[in-house]
Amino acid sequence: MRLLVVEDNVELSQQLRTALIESGFAVDTAADGEEGLHLGMTEPYDAVVLDLGLPRLDGLSVLRRWRASDRAMPVILLTARDSWSEKVEGLNAGADDYLAKPFIMAELIARLNALIRRSNGVARPELDFGEIRLDTAARAVTRQGQMVRLTALEYSMLAYLALNAGRPVSKTELTEHLYAQDFDRDSNTLEVIAGRLRRKLGDGLIETVRGQGYRMTPPR
């Protein structure tokens, strides 16, 4: 899952980046409103963490412009002020959630997972693919009740395919959602990852659609 973090405080931005990468997200960062606006307009993010107090262009304006341009990715607002007046303003400008500083990183990650799941039309955190079960909240995968160890990239690919189950996902789309902007992208690695996932979870889970990419059957 690829995230955009728009935060001007360098330290907090770094902390967020580290924590989010540790949780398996691909993370792009922007340090001011204009850069954030541009990235959000041009890159396909699965979710955005947006600070409200930003230099050059404030967070609410960034959000409003995204929404005015039909950029519908889930956005979670971060701010030091947490009065209801401001929450209402943020949510009614098109934010999906709101987190007041100081916050606990685990809480942010949990909310991000929930937002991404919801934006893909999946209500429950657990996805059931028969003998394979995927818990998006805990980022855990089990096969016949047994925990399967996955790398961050393997999990991200599985989760993206699972959340988009039922339709073929192209390698380009996968690349865009699994890697940060500055990452050296190589679609061959996707085949390697897909191969490893099949080895760990069984051949039937991920099918290759010739010329179109990968597809998973919708969960039960």
Partner: protein, 462 residues
């Protein structure tokens, strides 16, 4: 030097200075005095001038009558005076008093005063003349001319038309008029200057209380004085009273802030002590709990501080319906995953006497709390309350409160948070805020939906 001078006057950009009352009033007075006195003076001068002219004309007419009465017609010599006219000036050469009689055939008789000079020849028309001319010595003269029929004692024609002219110098009249004008102008100028000076004095004297008030305010600001203590005229009294009230309010705010900071400092001490101990014994979970507690404390006091600062500012009104509806929109988004139906009912005209942000804060906490516990729906209702109050109910279909739990839910701030993290703080803040505005928050079991019903009563109108 006294403190007043040392303290720089604060320059506030919203206070713009334009013009001066003293200058404005003095200018207006000067304009009015100049115009009024000018017009009056002109009339007075004109009137006296006319009087002097009338007197001079009357004297000339009587001189003319005397000359005509003494005139006779000699068939050979033409017009003559048969009797002396009782005006000695007619006999003194070039005295400025002259007469001249002209008959047909160029026969002319003149007063001795004319010597070898002549007055201007009479006009052929019969109109009696009364005009200003220049005399033999180029002095200004007033000339009166009349045509009379004189009868000769014998010879023909018996009757002849004779033109009688009398001329009198204007010099004494003009001098008199000039002296009078000068006197009047001087008198009016003096009067005008005096009036303007009095107005200026009046302004300075009237504004003196303002200056005294300002001096005292400077002292209040410098801290050498506690109150404005003045006897002031009734026009200024309301202003001074307002300022005094402002000072008082300011002082109260500062006192409240001081108390608040004290409270906060004391409230922070305990968790800090516990935190330090926990850190010394390297008990991470305990330390984490204390950090969370510190955070909540800071949050709680921040909100209270904001509310406290606003509660003093009277006069603001907020629409509960507008606040509830925009909150509902925001909360639907926030709780979209659980699909909770949020309904807002009530009358749009309802107003609560509270700051809009504070009202949103209260309603936001109540409605969010409702959404957290609700199974499927939350309802916010704006209803009329007791006299001068409005009643806002927020009800959910969740589990509600057990008996006796409401007191705990409303217990102030931190104590409750320790018991039930995450649930109580919001409601405690609502109760705090409501109290600041003279309202109340009560919790009970909703009759309609069976969950928690929070009832917020606030001053306002329905």
């Amino acid at each position: 030097m006294n403190v007043i001078r040392e303290l720089a006057a604060p320059a506030y950009p919203t206070i713009r200075v334009r013009g001066s009352l003293t200058r404005r009033l003095a200018l207006l007075a000067a304009l009015w005095v100049a115009a009024g006195l000018g017009v009056t003076g002109w009339f007075v001068v004109r009137l006296t001038e006319e009087q002097i002219e009338i007197a001079a004309d009357a004297r000339m007419t009587s001189l003319m009558d005397a000359v005509v009465a003494a005139a006779a017609l000699d068939p050979v010599r033409g017009p003559i005076l048969v009797r002396a006219v009782s005006e000695p000036e007619f006999d003194r050469p070039l005295s400025g008093h002259y007469w001249q009689m002209s008959a047909q055939g160029g026969l002319v008789a003149t007063s001795r005063s004319l010597w070898d000079q002549r007055l201007p020849a009479p006009r052929p028309d019969a109109e009696p003349r009364n005009e200003d001319i220049l005399g033999p010595r180029y002095e200004p003269l007033r000339l009166l001319e009349r045509k009379v029929q004189l009868e000769a004692r014998f010879g023909t024609p018996r009757f002849q038309t004779v033109t009688v002219q009398v001329a009198v110098t204007r010099v004494p009249t003009d001098v008199e008029i000039g002296r009078l004008q000068k006197g009047l102008v001087l008198a009016f100028l003096g009067l005008g200057t005096g009036l303007v000076a009095v107005v200026a004095l009046l302004v300075v004297w009237s504004l003196a209380p303002l200056r005294r008030a300002q001096e005292e305010l400077v002292e209040v600001r410098a801290g050498t004085r506690q109150h404005v203590d003045l006897t002031v005229p009734s026009e200024i009294a309301p202003l001074v009273r307002e300022i005094e009230a402002l000072i008082e309010q300011n002082r109260a705010t500062v006192d409240r802030a001081r108390t608040h900071v004290g409270n906060l400092a004391h409230a922070l001490k305990t968790p800090i002590a516990v935190l330090r101990n926990a850190l010394e014994r390297e008990e991470l979970p305990a330390a984490r709990a204390q950090a969370a507690m510190l955070e909540r404390l800071v949050q709680h006091h921040l909100r209270r501080a904001r509310a406290g600062a606003l509660a003093g500012a009277a006069g603001s009104e907020a629409s509960p319906m507008a606040a509830a509806q925009s909150l509902a929109t925001a909360l639907r988004r926030l709780f979209s995953a659980r699909g909770i139906a949020i309904t807002v009912l009530g009358r749009d005209s309802a107003r609560s006497r509270a700051d809009p942000q504070d009202l949103t804060e209260m309603l936001g906490n109540l409605m969010e709390n409702g959404c957290k516990w609700a199974v499927s729906k939350v309802e916010a209702r704006v209803l009329p309350g007791a006299t001068g109050m409005i009643r806002i109910e927020v009800e959910d279909d969740g589990p509600g409160l057990a008996e006796g739990q409401d007191a705990a839910a409303l217990a102030r701030g931190v104590r409750l948070d320790e018991a039930a993290p995450g649930s109580g703080l919001g409601l405690a803040i609502v109760a705090d805020l409501a109290g600041l505005y003279g309202g109340t928050l009560t919790l009970n079991r909703g009759a309609r939906m069976g969950g928690l019903r929070a009832v917020l009563e606030l001053p306002g109108r329905f």
